[in-house]
Symmetry: C2
Subunit: 210 residues, 2 copies
DNA sequence: CAAATTTACTTAACAATGTAAATAATCCAA
DNA sequence: TTGGATTATTTACATTGTTAAGTAAATTTG
């Protein structure tokens, strides 16, 4: 069926057009500027055409949020060579902080906004990108426990805690809740990294000397 | 000037009418249902009248967000009798988690949404409610350090870390990022409390035995 | 090859939204 | 009572997401 195949291909091409336009708006002007009409304008179709390729706007945001996870994965390429699981975990946290501060709009979409999640819950499927990301953290946590860097326990629980910690830092920062406490914007990331250091020092049982 | 005084009083009465209506909509139907037109409908004025008492919608949300902080303060009334600063801090965290899960819409407004913060940054003033809340945490942290429960260090830094941790938990939970990992909704708060326990155990230097 | 049908797209429209400008009603002092 | 100030409303604009109806072209069918 070369014919149905080409059809499918063309459909995907326009889908990609739409996503590229959405991405351009998203990256250059932020979440709020991604409107159906501006997307349509960019791809030179009528607004309603967009609805022939995506059920609604949330579906577009879901797609963008997946791209965000790919971008985040790039930040984590520097982890491969790190042998020590605790050092790797620390670096993972630093990457997370840096990603969030470098791409706040993406971070927003991935971990804060409701739009991508709506897609998931109505489709009944699960949050694959998030699951994969937390899975990688869990592996490292498990290794840390095995090698005696972290107290033995439920790696899932600890992963959740670590994630919550860095997410808390990033989300407070990018939602302007730290402005009063860290007035100098230049000091924001350093302060967060320092907090991460403190955290890592506290959970590392090999560092405990009192 | 009994006359100008009454004028002022009447003005405040209508302001209160508007805020009460906004609160009703906010509490009963959520953030998205607080629209100028529905507020006007409730108070039986025309929509534009609202603008005679509030510059814009964000100003209303700023007022609501302050009420949220008052509500949160009520949750913390059980702290007064707790002597041990570390136990108090732990309870503070539990209260925070419970408040966030009990009033996700308020939490949203207070710690996630941009609207109330916009008011602040354009007015150039600072985030008083947030400042006060973190201040109380800082006091407790300081006391913990003085009494040897926490390693000595910058209490501000540690407060930020503690806050980030609980905020991370709550915000991930109420923004549906934990659904995949904690499928049973009933287990959400217990899981978060367990994470808090783990956290507290790790930072408490009196508990360290290996 | 002609007719019927499906596909791809557009136009028009609806129902909201926040908000500004113009207009009307009300109130109070002179 | 009159006239200026205050307060409220009417009207309007520019957006938004999204649906329904219409159209033209491509494709399938007879």
């Amino acid at each position: 069926m070369g014919i149905a195949e080409r059809k499918e291909k063309q459909k995907n091409e326009i889908r990609k057009l739409i996503l590229d336009a959405s991405m351009k708006l998203f990256v250059e002007e932020g979440f709020g500027s991604v409107t159906i009409r501006r997307i349509a304008e960019l791809i030179e179709y009528s607004p309603t055409t967009v609805y022939l390729y995506f059920k609604d706007k949330d579906e577009i945001f879901y797609a963008l949020h997946e791209v965000g996870f790919e971008k985040m994965a790039e930040f984590n390429k520097n982890l491969d060579t790190i042998q020590n699981p605790l050092v790797r975990m620390h670096k993972m946290g630093e990457n997370y902080l840096r990603f969030g501060m470098d791409y706040p709009e993406f971070y927003n979409l991935m971990f804060i906004l409701g739009e991508p999640m709506k897609k998931i819950s109505e489709l009944g499927c699960d949050w694959k990108p998030g699951d994969a990301a937390l899975g990688r953290l869990k592996e490292t946590v498990t290794e840390c426990m095995e090698k005696g860097y972290l107290a033995k326990g439920d790696p899932y629980q600890v992963s959740l805690a670590v994630w919550s910690f860095v997410h808390g830092l990033v989300s407070l920062a990018i939602r302007q809740r730290l402005e009063k406490f860290v007035p100098d914007e230049k000091m924001l990331l350093p302060t967060m990294e320092q907090a991460l250091n403190w955290f890592m020092n506290n959970i590392d049982i090999t560092e405990r000397k009192h």
